[in-house]
Point group: C2
């Protein structure tokens, strides 16, 4: 997705070989026009998948999740990393380990909002080790719903996340795929189809 | 705002005299069409305020903040309740006490994204005691920027937040104003102009 690649090149900051900071347009300050384009792109990639719900995780997934849900005309649900006071005990839960933060969070979604028969598109801002996406997929499957696919804004293709998700049988669509971040530079994966 | 009032009446759940649960359409599952209408309404109320940035707080403020920013053609910034690993030390910070959770969070925004001369619209999902809005306003003023106004999706008018914000000199626009939640029912404040 060209607009996204340009934003990454122009406004992204490579902090280390593993960390790309996109605070200027994706996960602290958000460019709403780019967010809308991201939603349209996910929408077009999953237009024939009969999606009934979009599921993401707070906080950085909410903007691309919302614009995707708008495009696919479905509700958006965001999983919480901390339990809400007004969420009842009626919860789906999964453990998600963050390698960058070296902590394990329990993520939760109310059982009210993912139901048997739902066809769920999972959206997240980054794919690295795949832990968040696998946790979200577990929530969907606990509800006897189907994971229709996983849409990722920025995939670190040099980390094992995509392989783990594909081995688990999930369709993964990433809008930007990074082959490396060495020498403080962003390198995109060459994609034959683009 | 009529669509919002209808959603509150049809999908909101009064948990107690002080707590309205809007998990079905605003802050866990999100109705993207309603979120867009909320953004259009805030946009029309602040169209002449020459807003340069919309500021909200994770997580529930992000959806209405994003649609408002889209409408006003500005970036959205969301304050974090927990420090991000990739946020530098270059931070604006304020303490925000939550009466419902009985905890104090330090909220943060990178100094990179609110600058002197910015004219900032603050958006949040709920107004009760006004602590979050005052914390966000403090971040704006620490940056020598101006608070152009505070837009609230649901105001608990029976709690002191609005008075505190108005006494501090801020313009407050709320899309739904609740006069009480007694008897497990939602009562809206009568507004002469509607």
């Amino acid at each position: 997705m060209e607009e996204l690649k340009q934003a990454i090149l122009n406004k992204g900051v490579v902090l280390s070989d593993g960390v790309l900071k996109v605070d200027a347009f994706l996960n602290h300050q958000i460019d709403p026009v780019l967010a809308l384009q991201i939603g349209k792109e996910f929408g077009s990639r999953f237009i024939n998948s009969r999606i009934t719900k979009v599921l993401t995780i707070e906080s950085s997934g909410i903007a691309p999740g919302l614009t995707t849900a708008l495009e696919l005309k479905t509700p958006l649900i965001f999983a919480r990393k901390r339990k809400s006071l007004t969420l009842s005990s009626n919860l789906l839960t999964a453990k998600v380990h963050s390698f960058t933060k070296n902590e394990t969070n329990e993520i939760t979604v109310s059982k009210d909002f993912i139901n048997e028969g739902d066809n769920v598109l999972i959206i997240d801002d980054f794919l690295a080790n795949g832990e968040a996406a696998l946790g979200l997929a577990s929530l969907v499957e606990q509800a006897n719903a189907t994971v229709a696919g996983i849409g990722i804004v920025i995939e670190k293709s040099f980390q094992p996340g995509r392989n783990k998700l594909e081995e688990a049988g999930y369709v993964v669509e990433s809008l930007a795929r990074l082959s490396s971040l060495v020498d403080k530079k962003v390198h995109f994966l060459e994609e034959i189809s683009e």
